[in-house]
Amino acid sequence: MLRVRSVQELIKLLNQNKDFINTVFESTHRQININNALGIVENEILEELEENNIIEIYQNEVLLSESFVKFLEAHLIDSFDEELYDYKNIFLKISKSIDLYYISTESNGDIDKHLRAIHRHLRRIPNNLLDSLKSLQRHVEFTYRSAATNKEKLEELKGYNQSLDEFYKTLDFISNKLKEYRGFFQTIDNSAIEMQRTRLGSYVLSIRDTLISLTQTVIDYIKDTERSIYFHKHITELKELSDRKEIRSKTNLYDLVFNTSKDPLLSGFTKVEKKNTQIKFYPDYAYEEEFVERYKSNKEQLVQTQKIEVFSEPIDEDYLSSDEILIVNYSGILYEYLEQENYNKSFLDYLKLKEPELQGVELLTAYLDTIISNAEELKFTEDYEEIAGYDCVSAYPLSKEHEYEGDYT
């Protein structure tokens, strides 16, 4: 039981401590550590809240009292009352008012009285519909976030799914009734009623859209909850097998870990540390190197290239916008070549095949830079190949030396 003397006192108390109460309400299990609570409010406030049974202090934890939580749920969450929004009854009243309107017209009675009644009923419906929708939304969210167990959550969500179906039917019922009375509305030519009728029609359409997305949310929540129930059951079974030392023989866990070509590189799950390779990881540096290489390979711009200091100054982006320069990773081509393990074809032949437009000094520079940078991956022979008038050493994959010997010695 709450111990406040009046609603005003309760409102005042809640208003003064709204941040603190909100924090506790939104925390897990609606409880926080007392030290955290004292970081938000004074000790005297805690005592006052505890005295009024808004909070309870248990050991070192501050939690919202059960009676206060029930009070909040009752007034904030469970305000939805189907009886208040009995649309069949409302439209019966509208129908009756329409009948009385016609009777009054014939008997020269007070027709405005009946039109006012119709107007009043039409005006109330949109807000009632919105209340119903918001209430359902709150129910769904609250249940999904706060239900104590997954089974409870699932049952509640399935219940809401049915409520949403009912709500669709209500909207259909209202739409049909509006169509049914269309002739009457046109006959009376009353602008106030016509405005309410239009307003109600647009509300029904808008609420129907929201309802479709809410229904999808509920379906998703149900799926998530079912999956969560299944997953917890599955995990418990696996743990029991693990406790009985049977997980190796009775599950495919070992297959999943051992019979895979690739493994996740996760520090928490493995201890593997892969050595860094010599390939450039830093895109800025890589970019600058490639940029310089490209310029080095062009005799006409050689002088300009010498002014570019690798790793020291950022590249002027104007170069990039003014010149269309394709930056090619020749090391990548080399790796592709090495992966093919073709010991009869030299790297130069492969490079020419992959980059047919690369010729002359440009080819010479790219070739030499690549083979020198990756010398440890290659085997060099005494045969020479000519590029732009220069004799260049031939390069082949490092392993299986006998294949070179067969062909080149």
């Binding site: 897990t28 955290n36 167990t149 969560s228 599950t251 996740p264 928490g268 593997v272 800025d284 090391s331």
Partner: protein, 189 residues
Amino acid sequence: MIIDTNKLPNDTKEIFDTLRNGNFIVDNHPEKAHRNMFFTCDSYYDTLLNYFAPLGYDLERGDGYFLFYTQGMNEATKEHRINQLLNILNVVDLLLGVFPNFSVGWKGSPSDLLMSLKGDTLRSEQLEKMRGIKGKTLLERSNSVFEVMYKYGCIIPIEDKFNNYIVSSAYNYVTEFFEAVQRINVEDE
């Protein structure tokens, strides 16, 4: 393979370093810089995939996370990985039992676990006997549970005044892995 390094995003280095050190990149990390790395991975997935592949790292996309896969893991390391997975199995079983809503996005702290375990003798004993968990008191062991989950990348500290953690999308990796673990040799039972 030809890679146009001009097309690489600016934070390629950060992404590479994060993943190569055995971490996840997740979409719900409390730090914006980290979330930006996720969005970069998402937007430049093919470019980064091709850039990292020659280095021996396969960039893999999961449900809200990215990680590296690699080849050549030896048997001892795989055995170690299984032990780690069994440890996390115990921890996840405990957390799901105590917090039914424990999933991606859930927020909580060791003191939440401590409070829930105080009235739950069965699970308190479970935690007492759990391997891979350090500490003598229930509070120390509750802290250790969160440290273990943090080590696996499944939870991330929010750095608020309540010492809360948030379950990251990397937890999806754990659920996907254990969902793939199925019973075999059932007819022998």
